[in-house]
């Protein structure tokens, strides 16, 4: 459903991504691992046309993406849960989730708030709270709720486990796996946390300094312990 071929991305003069080939099949969940600065967030933003200048082929649901702007790509069914969550601080949780429904394609109805709460029960008690009154874990759940309310086809989670307590990380993994099943979502999960990525994805790409240095299944990855040392260890 997502096919990326020879993607290069730039911020001004800086050449961030080089020749990325990347695929996600319908219903599949794929991890993108790499250190800070490897280009994981830039990759997601390049898919969305949300900042970096991108060159290469991106096709989504059979459609070649060329000049579509960020909001138009969102409406095609690409939802991003950004690294810093970016919950709207002065809106309530309910309003934050509701506004995510703006990404629903024309003619499609977004999920109701009740549906979203049924999928992500942690959001239930928070609905009336303002965005800036949330803990990190709560922000993450609300950001995911805001991402899925429009019934996207592809959900992109940018380092979702970052900065969260281990208990919350487990809950998050459960929530993401439940969503995959109920919603039939495709997922891209960028992570530095290998365990979390393993729990929520089927296979992985490894990114280093803007290039894909490994792609394969988790068993294949485990058979190459040198990869962790070379590309993920701090």
């Amino acid at each position: 459903m997502l096919e990326v071929a020879k993607l290069d991305a730039f911020y001004g003069q800086s050449h961030i991504l080089r020749g990325i080939d990347f695929q996600v099949a319908a219903g599949e969940s794929v991890a993108l691992l790499g250190r800070n600065g490897a280009g994981k967030s830039t990759f997601l933003k390049a898919l969305l046309n949300g900042g970096p200048q991108a060159r290469g082929r991106i096709s989504f649901l059979g459609q070649h993406l060329t000049r579509e702007q960020l909001h138009q790509r969102a409406r095609l069914g690409m939802a991003l849960v950004p690294e810093d969550r970016r919950i709207f601080p002065k809106l309530t949780v309910e309003e934050n989730i509701e506004i995510g429904g703006r990404a629903a394609p024309t003619g499609a109805t977004p999920h109701s708030i009740n549906d979203v709460v049924a999928m992500l029960p942690m959001c239930g008690p928070l609905l009336k709270r303002l965005g800036f009154q949330l803990s990190g874990g709560q922000q993450q759940m609300v950001a995911i709720a805001r991402g899925i309310v429009s019934r996207p086809r592809l959900l992109m989670l940018d380092e979702p486990a970052e900065g969260l307590a281990p208990v919350i990380v487990d809950e998050l993994a459960d929530a993401i796996n439940r969503l995959r099943q109920t919603e039939g979502l495709s997922l891209i999960v960028t992570e530095q946390n290998i365990d979390f990525a393993r729990e929520t994805t089927d296979r992985l790409y490894l990114l280093d300094v803007g290039e894909v240095v490994f792609s394969g299944s988790w068993p294949e990855f485990d058979a190459r312990p040198d990869l962790v040392d070379r590309y993920l260890a701090l």
């Binding site: 949300g50 909001h71 969102a74 970016r86 709207f88 002065k90 809106l91 506004i99 429009s150």
Partner: protein, 295 residues
């Protein structure tokens, strides 16, 4: 004495609401686009002249509906002008430094000045208040012109409408989201550029509306823009840049400062006004209702 007090109170509120009417469009555009539109007063002034032209057909007997209609025509006319100014000027100011914004919008103000001088000339013009708003109410020693009551009412209505839209509608929530984080707003599917365009049009329409509503409040001259833009800037800065509620509170506050100053320091116009602005900014640089850190 009570007459004095009532007069001060009344003059303060008239000044406040007249200034708020002008400041409302200014603060909305700043709040959403972060563009400080120095030319706002110019379009307010053209709005007033447009209303003058409309009302000229009625001579000295202007029915209230015509007066309101004139203001509406001015609002629509300035809204249309806003479409053009957005396309030619504002869209280029999104990602440039504040100083360029200042130069560009100041240049626009000069264009407005020149346009008014060309079309309506240098002479002072005036419009009389509409029928029914020509007399005054006497309370003790105080004389309260009914037209001033009308201006106060207009300010309150515009404030309540804007507050209602911004805080209790999905349009308002969209605007709040964009004001805080336009990138994320795009990522949830909002066409932020379209909202920016609509905001500029709304800001210009508010300038035109203010011009039309206040056209009988003072005589018309090409100086009008400069008088009001200084007042409106004072209100927007003191209120906290971009906040409608802040602009409202600040306009009342500065209205009282102005009225006290006019009564007790008539020989030093403006001194107390600017001294107060300076003092408030020393104590609260973010303005009365502004946030510590701007988004």
């Amino acid at each position: 004495m009570t007459g004095d007090l009532l007069t001060i109170l009344f003059n303060a509120m008239t000044w406040s609401m007249a200034t708020f009417l002008v400041a409302s469009g200014l603060t909305i555009v700043f709040g959403i686009l972060h563009v400080l539109n120095f030319s706002h007063g110019g379009f307010f002034m053209i709005g007033a002249y447009v209303a003058y032209t409309v009302l000229n057909y009625f001579g000295f007997e202007i029915p209230l509906y015509a007066y309101l209609g004139g203001a509406l025509v001015a609002a629509v006319a300035m809204g249309v002008v806003g479409v053009g100014v957005d396309a030619v000027v504002f869209r280029r100011l999104q990602n440039v430094e504040g100083v360029y914004v200042l130069i560009a919008t100041y240049a626009l103000l000069l264009v407005c000045d020149g346009f008014v001088k060309l079309v309506w000339g240098l002479n002072y013009l005036s419009v009389s208040p509409p029928n029914g708003l020509l007399d005054a109410i006497f309370m003790g020693d105080a004389i309260l012109p009914t037209f001033s009551l009308f201006v106060i009412g207009c300010g309150l209505v515009v404030f309540l409408l804007l507050e209602g839209v911004l805080n209790h509608t999905s349009v308002g929530r969209t605007l709040q989201a964009i004001a805080i984080d336009p990138w994320m707003a795009r990522a949830v599917g909002i066409d932020v550029s379209a909202v920016y365009r609509a905001t500029v049009v709304a800001g210009f329409a508010l300038a035109g509306l203010a011009g039309g509503l206040l056209v009988a409040n003072q005589s018309l001259s090409p100086e009008l823009a400069h008088i009001y833009i200084l007042q409106a800037f004072g209100v927007v800065i003191i209120g906290g840049m971009g906040s409608i509620r802040g602009a409202f509170v600040a306009s009342i506050f500065l209205g009282f400062v102005e009225a006290v100053s006019a009564t007790y320091l008539p020989n030093y116009p403006g001194v107390l006004f600017f001294a107060t602005i300076a003092l408030v900014l020393v104590i609260r640089p973010q303005g009365l209702l502004g946030k510590e850190a701007t988004a």
